[in-house]
């Protein structure tokens, strides 16, 4: 849960990168850490195995000034994607404010994508939350690989809910659309807390419900 401190004029938000194993969640955070100005970020902390698989979570704190008069702190987390670490994913989801669901675009990973998305919904439900309330965006990663599903198919499989959300074609290893995804989820969650959103829930004029996927810029 976000919290605002009037004494230090800070607002904190927690964003979690969720998705199946080896879909590129840690790569997203690694790229952001590399490219963002050092004065706007802290250290990237990775609790990983010797083989660089995420064991608990990765964590990257970012600072920005986006609301007049306040420093906004975004805390980025990843979850371990491997199926057996579900208890850990539940812990990391605690108090989440925004989610980036990272899908692996390769055909053979489609089942894992769907399973992970369902797992996300289940884990949110266990904490009395749902994707209806939590701002989230979709990221279709690894668009540079040869054996990938078309975006329309990914949209059909993962973005076919009543509330359609922004989605991005991404190559996290080169950074394409990594920042676009981060900016989109940040803006979406900020708008959730704005007064217009509060007074017009369900038909918020500021709500982000675009249907087109943001493509890779070659």
């Amino acid at each position: 849960m976000s919290i605002i401190n009037y004494a230090s004029r800070e607002i904190q938000f927690k964003i979690v990168y969720y998705g199946p194993a080896l879909c590129g969640k840690t790569t997203n955070l690694g790229y952001i850490h590399q490219r963002i100005s050092p004065q706007n970020r802290g250290d990237l902390v990775s609790l990983a195995t010797a083989a660089d698989r995420t064991l608990f979570f990765d964590f990257l704190p970012l600072n920005a000034v986006v609301i007049k008069g306040f420093v906004t702190k975004f805390q980025l987390y990843t979850v371990p994607g491997q199926v057996i670490y579900n208890a850990t994913r539940q812990l990391v989801l605690r108090s989440v404010d925004g989610i980036v669901f990272v899908a692996d675009s390769q055909w053979e990973k489609m089942e894992e994508n769907v399973e992970s998305f369902k797992n996300l919904e289940d884990n949110l439900a266990k904490q009395n939350m749902s994707l209806e309330d939590i701002p989230y965006v979709l990221q279709y990663n690894k668009r540079d690989l040869p054996n990938i599903a078309p975006v329309n198919y990914l949209e059909y499989v993962l973005n076919n809910r009543k509330k359609r959300v922004q989605s991005f074609e991404v190559v996290s290893s080169t950074g394409q659309n990594v920042f676009a995804t981060l900016n989109a989820v940040s803006q979406t969650l900020l708008h959730k807390f704005s007064k217009q959103s509060d007074s017009n829930r369900g038909s918020a004029p500021g709500a982000q419900t675009p249907r087109q996927t943001q493509g890779v810029v070659a």
């Binding site: 919290i3 605002i4 963002i36 964590f59 704190p61 986006v66 208890a87 812990l91 989440v96 704005s194």
Partner: protein
């Protein structure tokens, strides 16, 4: 309800007072009150030596990770955890169902002293936070207050030719 919970300047001053008193008595270096999701609620002490945000995220994870261990021996959770280093140590204790208190201390004091004073402090902090929830402060802002420009920028051009 989409309002963000607020700590007013007075709330922070009151919390700081309680934490300052605790640090003085326990002779510890730093104390941080966090929620169980890893967000910092309040902090007091020498914050120059470490990144409090990262300490909070890792401590919340550490506290949560031992919950299952506690269940195996018939406990709901451990009320307190102690990480002993060579010169610096961390003591964590539960404040309430949503909140944890972390204390970093060095050779000037002992874990016993920190543990003793942290119990009372945690109770005081719990009461304060409960009163805050009842006061139900909430903060919202206008959509026009949000910067329209991209929040984060890629500081170098993205490579255009993927290998």
């Amino acid at each position: 309800m989409n309002a963000i919970p607020v700590l007013t300047i007075d709330d922070v001053a009151t919390l700081d007072g309680v934490l300052a008193d605790f640090l003085k008595k326990a002779e510890a270096e730093l104390t941080v009150v966090i929620d169980r999701g890893g967000n910092v609620i309040s902090q007091y002490g020498d914050m120059t030596v470490m990144d409090v945000t990262i300490i909070a995220a890792l401590a919340a994870g550490s506290f949560a990770a031992t919950r299952e261990l506690a269940r195996r021996i018939g406990e709901i959770e451990f009320n307190a955890l102690y990480h002993q280093g060579n010169g610096s140590h961390i003591f964590m204790n539960s404040v309430d169902e949503e909140t944890i208190m972390i204390t970093v201390f060095g050779p000037r004091t002992t874990v016993g002293l920190v543990r003793f004073y942290s119990t009372g402090t945690a109770q005081q902090v719990a009461l304060l936070l409960k009163a805050l929830q009842k006061a139900n402060h909430g903060f919202t802002f206008e959509a026009s207050d949000i910067s329209a420009a991209p929040i984060f920028t890629d500081s170098e051009p993205t490579p255009t030719t993927p290998s």
